[in-house]
């Protein structure tokens, strides 16, 4: 009898707490960003497609579905680390198939050579190239994500990727990089 009462009481308590927890989980549910959104927010949004997906969002979706996290070349180690944190996995080194030079770049059109074919305009994922048919094209440097996608379609190879120059405005206080120059 005592055992029965004990079981009953414990059972009831368990049920009560279970109900409480269930209620709480419904009532106080925290609406988090869906995983894909969070991943997308971590990606650099260059829309470069170097990961093999047509844009950052598709890659975010792929990562959420188990694609490896080390395919974002423009994001580099930082992005991989952040994704690893979010996904709760170990960070991996950047996919070796990507070029190692991760400096931020912008595309540059060598204007003498441009024939105005508009192919790069069609390729640019962020519409950062101005120009029209048989007009010389130019890059809106501020909008260029440095994704590299316009380089390949150019029939006369007049687009090159140039690293963003360092100025006093974007200097990162790297004292070791200061060149000690002596003119004499």
């Amino acid at each position: 009898m005592t055992t029965l009462i004990a079981i009953l009481v414990l059972g009831l308590i368990a049920a009560a707490f279970g109900a409480l927890l269930g209620f709480a989980s419904v009532k106080f549910k925290v609406e988090g960003d869906p995983l894909v959104e969070q991943l997308d927010a971590l990606l650099p949004q260059t829309q470069c497609g170097q990961c093999g997906y047509p844009g950052c969002k598709p890659y975010a979706e792929a990562v959420a579905n188990g694609e490896s996290i080390n395919k974002c070349a423009p994001g580099g180690e930082d992005t991989i680390k952040k994704i690893a944190d979010l996904m709760g996995v170990e960070p991996e080194p950047l996919d070796a198939t990507h070029e190692q030079d991760n400096r931020p770049k912008v595309a540059f059109i060598i204007e003498e050579d441009c024939i105005g074919c508009t192919k790069c305009i069609a390729a640019c994922p962020v519409d950062a190239i101005i120009g029209a048919g048989k007009q010389m094209h130019t890059i809106i440097a501020d909008e260029c994500t440095g994704c590299d996608l316009c380089v390949a379609p150019c029939p006369v190879d007049c687009i090159e990727m140039r690293p963003i120059e360092q100025t006093t405005k974007n200097w990162q206080w790297d004292l070791n990089s200061i060149p000690v120059v002596e003119l004499d």
Partner: protein, 805 residues
């Protein structure tokens, strides 16, 4: 407010948190008068010496300038001009390491003094009160005055502010060790400084003027007191010596008890602060019409034999000042600090020029300053937090900075750090805290910029995707409508040239055309001809069929009979160029390809017409032509277009075809010739490659030529007119691509550049045409000539390309 004034009048001031008492070392220079102006062999004047934007250079190399002449003209309110500190010649305008911790180079004007020191014409203004307020502000702006205390904020913006200023604070604290420039200036020129203060008073109409000065400058205090005897509203506020009393927010706190809210400016709380040296410069500018061309610089440190204060012309290289004071430093171990020991920065070169914000050049001896880095682990002693004037937690920020935890750093209010260096000064573990914060700040700013950019890129990407989607839908919708219209039309009329029903014919044409498309052969716009008139749908269908068939079969005949009958001349010309059958087939293929390319590129024009509602007539003609062309590409469904448009006449297109073929052939030939001539000696695989490259270029150019011809024919305009119309196209396109507001400038630049390119290209074309060997023998119409010119351009480019290879 009244209580604050009472307290100030009783000389009771407030305290700010923290602060340190570093060894002052002011005695090194404080007992010597300011050395008079020294002119070096060469003045290096950076065009930007303040916060904001640089002005536009308004002198040229070789120009003779007079003393006080402006070298740059401000292009925006945040720009201040720089002036020639003496008369002389502009030697060069080049990049030079400037006074910045990064040691990076910026544009500087090199002025070689002629040692005549000839002034430009000056307008001495004895009584500034006769001038209107905005005139005074204008004078200050013209004189190129920016804050001389350190930050270098343009002064004319600060003094041209709203009324209701409670306090005008003159910062004479000079709390940095070693520096005595302001001290000496106050002692020697207190009258001028007070004049400057009065001008500021006249501009700002403050309730009170406070001169904040530390008690370690008794002579300066006495001198100022004497100069302000007759002014009741100027209070000399003597504060206890403590670093960093001279910090803007700290001085405001110490003098008025007010705490400037983080992220806001003192002006929002009715306070304006100016440095004493700035006051001096204002008086000089307004009364004597003397721009800011010299300043007092303390040249101090135990590494010098004769530390002293010097009147230095802006642009004097540090080297000259150090030489005047006789450096004792070993030649292989130099250390020069610009600014004080607490907030100054080390220079990578002694050619760095003095700028408007330079108040000190410090040349320390080897044991004088903490030169080596002995960083050990933080033991959380909290001394840094005790001395932080911003009441931050430096040790926690240091950990977060090391861990690159930007969110935590922002939570710890990293951006309230004023870089004063008090924390690093007291740190027993010798941690370079300020350096960590600076790096973190720069990184956070960079990251924010990147985030912003990523967001924008994402938005643009999404917008582009949406646009492509929309276009696709519209196209499908249009096709549907067109086919309905055609069906209706065909039901009314019977077919022509075929016993089957017109609908069947159309369907057949469609199928064939599709097949042709599959072969990378896209139909010509000439098929679009009938779309003007829906009655002729059957004709179009027939043509389409014929074309498709032709493309499919790769016939030897380059042009279909229908076209042949229309224009035999071009046909002949084309045939002449391609005598054997195989070659002519190639030409045909090339034509088809060129057309495909053209159709492709006209897509952009289609966009233009679809999205832009502007009703420019010239533009619209072109645009609609483009639309028509694009439609022609999808001829099989496009016949019943609902819009009425002027249509390119088939013959023009045909001409273009032929011209393209000709151009290509020529280019190829030319390339071959060149290739043969030049490549024979080398006889290596790269010959092939080069030839290929050249061919590609030539092809591309030929494409371009083809399009040129079409346009010329359609519009029947001269080259100049065409140029204009092209501009219109660019404008139309760019208007869609970029947002209108902040990018106007860039667009204009792009257009200008495009124009320039165009004009450049023209003479080349002319030259090329004069060298032309093969002239089309018959039918030297304008069109043909254009084609030739274009071909020549292509050739020239091809040649160039080859040479550069």
């Amino acid at each position: 407010m009244q209580s604050i004034i009472n307290r100030i009048e009783n000389n009771q001031f407030w305290k700010f948190h923290g602060g340190i008492h570093p060894p002052e070392q002011k005695f090194l220079t404080t007992n010597k008068p300011i050395r008079s102006l020294h002119l070096p062999e060469m003045l290096i004047i950076p065009i930007q010496q303040h916060i904001g934007v640089a002005g536009d250079i308004c002198v040229n190399i070789g120009d003779q300038v007079l003393k006080g002449e402006a070298l740059t003209a401000p292009s925006s309110p945040m720009a201040v001009p720089v002036h020639a500190p003496t008369s002389g010649t502009i030697e060069k305008i080049a990049l030079q390491v400037i006074a910045h911790p990064s040691g990076l180079s910026e544009l500087c004007i090199f002025l070689k003094p002629d040692h005549k020191d000839t002034w430009r014409e000056r307008n001495i203004c004895a009584d500034y009160k006769t001038l209107a307020r905005n005139e005074i502000v204008h004078k200050i702006a013209e004189a190129g005055i920016s804050g001389m205390g350190g930050a270098g904020f343009p002064t004319h913006i600060k003094v041209d502010s709203k009324p209701n200023i409670d306090f005008l604070i003159i910062n004479a604290a000079e709390c940095e060790p070693y520096i005595t420039a302001d001290d000496l200036l106050m002692r020697e020129h207190s009258a001028t400084i007070v004049q400057g203060v009065n001008i500021l008073k006249h501009l700002l109409i403050p309730r009170m003027v406070l001169i904040g000065i530390e008690d370690n400058k008794p002579d300066a205090i006495a001198s100022l007191k004497k100069a302000t005897e007759s002014y009741n509203d100027i209070h000399i506020c003597v504060l206890p010596t403590k670093y960093p009393t001279g910090g803007e927010k700290q001085l405001i706190r110490a003098l008025t008890g007010k705490e400037i809210t983080s992220g806001s400016l003192p002006i929002h709380q009715g306070i304006v602060m100016q440095n004493v040296a700035t006051c001096f410069a204002i008086a000089e500018a307004v009364i004597h019409d003397t721009p800011l061309i010299k300043r007092v610089v303390t040249v101090s440190g135990q590494g010098l034999e004769k530390p002293q204060n010097i009147w230095a012309a802006i642009g004097t290289p540090v080297k000259d000042l150090v030489a005047l004071s006789k450096s004792l430093q070993a030649a292989d171990k130099k250390a020069i600090i610009m600014g004080g020991p607490m907030m100054g920065f080390t220079l990578p070169s002694d050619h760095v020029p003095i700028v408007k914000t330079t108040n000190c050049v410090l040349v320390p001896s080897e044991k004088e300053l903490a030169l080596e880095n002995k960083e050990v682990e933080c033991i959380r002693c909290g001394q840094c937090a005790d001395v932080c004037p911003s009441r931050l937690l430096p040790q926690e920020m240091q950990w977060s900075a090391k861990a690159k935890d930007h969110a935590k750093l922002k939570e710890l209010n990293l951006f309230d750090c004023i870089d004063c260096g008090a924390c690093a000064f007291v740190c027993p573990s010798h941690i370079p805290l300020v350096q960590y914060y600076r790096v973190a700040k720069a990184e956070i700013r960079q990251q924010e910029l990147l985030d912003l950019k990523a967001e924008k890129a994402k938005a643009r990407f999404e917008a582009r995707k949406a646009r492509l989607e929309r276009e696709k839908k519209e196209r499908i919708e249009k096709q549907r409508k067109a086919s309905e219209a055609r069906r209706a039309a065909m039901e009314e009329k019977s077919g022509e040239g075929s016993t089957a029903k017109s609908a069947v014919a159309a369907a057949l044409a469609r199928v064939k055309a599709k097949k042709a498309q599959g072969k990378d052969v896209i139909e010509d716009p000439r098929e679009a001809a009938p779309e003007k008139d829906t009655q002729k749908s059957q004709v179009a269908a027939a043509i389409a069929r014929a074309k498709a068939k032709k493309a499919k079969a790769q016939q030897n005949e380059p042009v279909s009979p229908e076209e042949n009958s229309v224009h035999p001349d071009e046909q002949v010309e084309a045939e002449k160029k391609s005598t054997d059958a195989g070659k002519s087939a190639k030409v045909a293929a090339a034509i088809a390809k060129a057309k495909a390319k053209k159709a492709n590129s006209t897509k952009r024009d289609v966009e233009t017409s679809e999205t832009n509602k502007a009703d420019d007539s010239k533009k619209s003609a072109k645009v609609s032509a483009a639309v028509a062309k694009a439609k022609a590409k999808k001829l099989q469904k496009e016949i019943g277009a609902e819009e009425q448009q002027p249509t390119p006449i088939p013959e023009v297109d045909k001409k273009a075809n032929v011209a393209a073929a000709v151009a290509k052939a020529k280019a190829k030939k030319q390339q071959k010739e060149v290739g043969d001539d030049e490549q024979q000696p080398s006889s290596k695989p790269e010959v092939d490659k080069k030839a290929k490259v050249a061919a590609a270029v030539a092809k591309a150019k030929a494409k371009k030529t083809a399009r040129n011809v079409t346009q010329v024919a359609v519009e029947k305009e001269s080259m100049v007119e065409e140029l204009q119309s092209e501009e219109t196209t660019i404008e139309t396109t760019t208007e869609i691509i970029v947002e209108p507001d902040d990018k106007k400038q860039r667009i204009a630049n792009a257009i200008a550049k495009a124009k320039a390119k165009k004009q450049q290209a023209q003479p080349i074309a002319d030259m090329a045409s004069s060298n032309e060997e093969e002239l089309p023998k018959e039918d030297n119409k304008a069109v043909a000539k254009k084609a030739r010119i274009a071909a020549a351009v292509a050739k020239a480019k091809a040649k160039k390309q080859q040479e550069s290879n």
